[in-house]
Amino acid sequence: MRPSALLERLLQLVPVLLGIALVVFLMMQATPGDPVELMLGDALATPEQREALRRDMGLDRPLPERFLHFLGNAATLDFGQSFHHRRPVADVILERLPATIELTLAAMAIAIAVGVPLGVVAAVRRDGWIDRLATILGLAGVSMPGFWLGILLILLFSVQLGWLPVSGRIGFGAEVPPVTGLLLVDTLLAGRPASFLEALRHLLLPAVTLGLAMAALLMRVTRTSMLEALRQDYVTFATAKGLPRRRVLIRHALRNALTPTVTVAAIETGTLLGGNMIVETVFGWPGLGRLVVEGIFTRNYPLVQAAVLLYAVTYVLLNLLADVLQTVLNPKVRL
């Protein structure tokens, strides 16, 4: 891949992001409810005070001007004050984001480690017992609601066996100074292996809950594309060259079969990065999902607006990442 092609793709993102920003901005204008009323809540205020607040918030300016203002602020990560928290929205989100990122990375790692090999084995031993088992588990994994699996896991590993904590990210007394916000990294940076284990123990159940559903999806995608790849002439030819079976399967079949898996994994990572309200609630995980859902219910517009923008940017970037990975996997694909 040429670096200039990557730069070109990045530049192409600019109009996309502007469009997203416009949609987000207009969406907020179109939603019912007066921000001033919302902000004041039940507080008593004179009409003059209301008018002053309106001017303060720039709500008396014409729409285009307000959009430019919004853009300028967004560029400097200034999304205004969260109504509920009375703090800058960016701070509130950044506080929760690392927890979600950590959970996403862990869940995706589990999903890839479980889903891809299982999909390969299921395809290679098509209609064998592993395939049948994987198909059933895959169906279960995709259709089982996260909260249900989460509660089952808590009942088994936390309540019955007492091996793992019920909720939260880390136990009292094990906290470390935040550097990256990712506790697995921060505990190691702080040189506290005991805290690292503690964080890992907290992470395990929610990551497995999210990861297994994703693993089921990746397994099904990998199985399908692997079956397709195994039918290709280049697999027959690779076998005819006298290559070991394992090499034929991995270097020739799997490598070409991974294309759809990578795309699905990237998109699903985008979904996970939005935070999963249900799993976060079940495990008391202080992530983005709960924050945003609460924000929606309390009509915390600045917060929701920033979150939607964040989701959109994440999606766009992950799509680009998926495209870049495609070019690595398949030299025929150009950016």
């Binding site: 030819f237 005819a240 060259k241 006298g242 290559l243 070409n256 398949n330």
Partner: protein
């Protein structure tokens, strides 16, 4: 060694399907001698490709060898365990497939695809940097052997960056990388332009001369086979219907199907002669006719043709599966 290089006896290959058991190959006998070029001709579905995929143990499940024996250099290789088949594949017996575009891996460079074949069969390669250098040199040498200009540059290319003829040459180079005794060229020209076809066939003939590799040229085109092969085997509906020295078979075909194939080829010498396709469809591979499989399409058919019939030997090392031939 006096016996044939490859000997196939009574080979039967079946593919279970929902509609029933497809008998793709049904009682095929043939042999290939060291250094010769054998043509195997038949239309699609005649079982010619499947026969040779079976030789290399490359049948795609659930397809399987149901009966018969395959011997290579006198040693039975049908039913060998996978590990021993792998030893043979690429090293002793190599194959090229019809379309190099689909047979070469789109994600790997020419060099990677050549080198991995050499590595799979040469345990004496040194380790480390010397290994890389030796492998690269050998890969370049192979590309030169098959007449690819600027081999050093082509090594880094991906299959889609090459022309069709070039891809076919690369596939032949890979097949020859371990100097096999037998090369099976499955429809080597079908996917190519006519001008390139001749080049590839000439290349195969030249390589046979230079390396002494026996070649099986599998083709639906009797014209291609006529020009390059000393002997020819004509297959129809999973069976051998005629075989013998190419000149004799073409000069005086003894099976009506072979005659039909010849009449369906346009001729430059007699441009006025009408091209006559063989009427009807290939026999149903699940429920083939009980006697001669060509009987339903044959203009000479008579009641005796409905009885099972074996290949009947004719003088001059020939044989045909037809009641016209005196038993």
């Amino acid at each position: 060694m006096s016996g044939p290089l490859l000997e196939i006896r009574g080979l039967a290959v079946v593919f279970p399907t929902r509609g029933g058991l497809v008998r793709a190959v049904d009682g095929v006998d043939l042999e290939v001698f060291s250094g010769e070029c054998l043509g195997v001709v038949g239309e699609s579905g005649s079982g010619k490709s499947v026969t040779f995929l079976a030789v290399l143990g490359l049948l795609r499940p659930p397809g399987r060898i149901e009966a018969g024996e395959i011997r290579f250099e006198g040693r039975t290789i049908s039913g060998l365990p996978e590990a021993e088949l792998r030893e043979l594949r690429g090293r002793a017996i190599a194959i090229t497939l019809q379309d190099a575009l689909t047979a070469l891996n789109p994600a790997l460079t020419v060099e990677q695809q050549i080198v991995e074949t050499i590595e799979a069969h040469d345990p004496d390669l040194p380790r480390g940097r010397a290994r890389r250098r030796i492998l690269r040199e050998r890969a370049q040498e192979l590309l030169r052997l098959v007449g690819i200009p600027e081999p050093a540059r082509r090594l880094a290319a991906y299959p889609h960056e090459l022309s069709g003829g070039m891809r076919q040459r690369v596939m032949i180079a890979i097949a020859l990388s371990c100097r096999p005794k037998l090369l099976i060229a499955d429809e080597p020209t079908t996917a190519l332009d006519v001008t390139i076809q001749a080049q590839v066939l000439d290349l195969l003939a030249e390589l046979r001369e230079r390396l002494g590799t026996a070649i099986v040229l599998v083709s639906h085109d009797l014209g291609v086979v006529a020009e390059h092969c000393g002997r020819v085997v004509v297959m129809y509906a999973g069976q051998v219907v005629e075989r013998g020295p190419t000149a004799a078979v073409i000069g005086e075909p003894r099976h009506p199907y072979t005659r039909g194939l010849l009449r369906s080829i346009p001729s430059i010498a007699e441009p006025e002669r009408p091209i006559r396709p063989i009427p009807g469809q290939m026999a149903d591979p699940i429920r083939p006719p009980p006697g001669c499989r060509f009987e339903p399409r044959c203009s000479l058919a008579r009641p005796a043709c409905r009885l099972p019939i074996a290949l009947r030997p004719i003088d001059g090392g020939r044989a045909a599966r037809c009641v016209e031939v005196a038993a």
